[in-house]
């Protein structure tokens, strides 16, 4: 959809070879401003059609709608975080959890993604990774390997302070909620 006007402009300038180079650079810049592919999109698109996997994708447009219908009486911390989210991808499976976890870790480019935190607790490995440009975190990647393999990618303006607040509010009912999640998936 975005490439059409770009293609048109290329054809106009076909004769100018020099300008083609400049144009290519410009297009690169333009392309970068349009939707950065998150980790799951990049590395794990092959699994998106695999029946053993549960795949969830929430687009930026959907998030704008979500923020509209969010009730005013809901948890403010959560609301704050949702407000800045632009995309969410979830990839989860109960098969070969360790193998997938290892594969995911190896595939992720450490230059792009920085490890924020690693937790190992009762046979479950958890890893938090972030991708940031300067001071702003663009993507938060969560990897879980244990009883189940989970890969979650949050795209948007991510503020770690807000996430910490959110975690705090969850802590109180946290364990219960986690059990609920497990039940739903079964």
């Amino acid at each position: 959809m975005y490439t059409l006007p770009i293609l048109i402009t290329i054809s106009i300038n076909e004769k100018m070879k020099k300008f083609n180079l400049v144009l290519a650079l410009l297009l690169g810049i333009v392309g970068m401003s349009f939707g950065q592919a998150d980790a799951i999109e990049k590395y794990f698109s092959q699994y998106q059609d695999d029946e053993n996997f549960t795949v969830v994708y929430i687009s930026p447009k959907m998030f704008s709608m979500v923020s509209k219908i969010a009730p005013d009486d809901m948890d403010q911390d959560i609301k704050e975080v949702i407000k800045d989210l632009k995309g969410l991808r979830i990839l989860t499976t109960e098969y070969n959890t360790e193998a997938f976890y290892k594969e995911a870790k190896s595939k992720i480019n450490t230059k792009e993604y920085e490890v924020l935190m690693t937790v190992r607790d009762e046979g479950t490995n958890v890893e938090f990774l972030v991708k940031d440009t300067g001071d702003i975190i663009n993507e938060l990647l969560l990897l879980v390997g244990g009883d189940e393999f989970v890969m979650m990618s949050f795209v948007g303006n991510i503020d770690l302070n807000k996430i910490a607040k959110l975690a705090n509010s969850i802590d109180i009912d946290g364990m219960e909620h986690l059990e609920n999640l497990g039940d739903k998936k079964n």
Binding site: M1, Y2, P5, I6, I8, T9, I12, N13, K15, M16, F19, L23, L26, V30, S33, F34, V56, I58, P60, K61, M62, F63, S64, M65, V66, K68, I69, A70, I78, V81, I82, L85, L88, I90, M117, V119, D121, V126, F128, L140, L142, V144, V150, M152, F154, I163, A164, L166, A167, N168, S169, I170, D171, G174, M175, H177, L178, L181, K184
Partner: protein, 278 residues
């Protein structure tokens, strides 16, 4: 002298039948003050004759026998041109001696002969025809062609030559065309200007392309962030489902996050005790 008599004399004179005595009579009449008005037109003619005679009379008085000597010289072929001219002037005058009269016809012939050659120079039509023939056979020299050009450029072109006058006029204008060679420099300038214009057009095209690109980017970006419409019912349901999923995801995130921070909390407590100890 009466009027009619003068008229008779004039008649005789103009048919060339007047005797010298009669001509003398006319001369004296015109020299007098009693010239009739009808005869006044002829007065200048006869005054001329008296002057001419006056010249010749000078000759006669000063060198009476000179003519005899000159004649003798002439018939021996020993006269110079100036002497022959003297003889000629004498014989063309009216005061030729009786004994010289049989030679007068000889010297008047020479005058006439000279006049004939004069005529030839005025109208050299025969020459022009020869030159034209040579020209059309491409055998004329440059000098001859110049003669032709001068002839056609003059105002006196014969009727049968008029058809060629345009041809020779063309040659003179063709010569003039060389002046226009100077314009080529201006054409070069114009060509350069033209090239500049083409370049400018191309630049305009490229600039237009860039503007188009930037405009499209701008439009796309504004499209994404433009969402002031109310959601439909279906969209509502979908959005709610999405919200739920998001909250669950965030919950998991929080839980895992807490696992990590828990250990940090332990560290904090550990540090405190350490400080206390010290």
């Amino acid at each position: 002298m009466n009027f009619n008599h003068i008229n008779d004399l004039l008649e005789l004179y103009f048919v060339g039948d007047s005797s010298i005595a009669q001509e003398k009579e006319l001369k004296s009449y015109f020299n007098s003050d009693q010239v009739a008005t009808e005869h006044l037109q002829f007065k200048s003619l006869f005054s001329y004759f008296s002057e001419a005679k006056h010249i010749s009379t000078n000759l006669d008085f000063n060198e009476a026998n000179l003519i005899d000597e000159l004649l003798e010289k002439y018939f021996e072929g020993e006269t110079e041109i100036s002497e022959e001219q003297t003889l000629k002037a004498y014989f063309s005058g009216n005061n030729v001696e009786a004994r010289h009269e049989n030679y007068s016809s000889l010297f008047t012939y020479f005058t006439k002969a000279k006049e004939v050659s004069f005529d030839k120079e005025i109208q050299p039509e025969g020459d022009i025809d020869d030159l034209l023939e040579k020209y059309f056979e491409a055998q004329s020299s440059i000098e001859e062609e110049r003669k032709l050009k001068a002839y056609f450029n003059s105002g006196t072109v014969a009727a049968e030559h008029k058809q060629f006058s345009e041809l020779f006029e063309y040659f003179s204008t063709a010569q003039a065309e060389n002046l226009e060679k100077g314009i080529e420099l201006d054409l070069n300038k114009k060509a350069k200007k033209g090239q500049l214009r083409v370049l400018r057009r191309r630049m305009m095209g490229v600039a237009a392309g860039f503007v188009l690109l930037i405009a499209s980017v701008f439009i796309m970006k504004t499209n994404i962030s433009n969402d002031d419409q109310l959601l439909s019912e279906a969209e509502r349901i979908e959005a709610e489902a999405a919200l739920e999923t998001t909250m669950e995801a965030l919950a998991m995130l929080g839980v895992q996050f807490n696992k990590g921070t828990e250990s940090l909390e332990n560290m904090k407590a550990f540090k405190k005790t350490q400080i206390l100890k010290q």
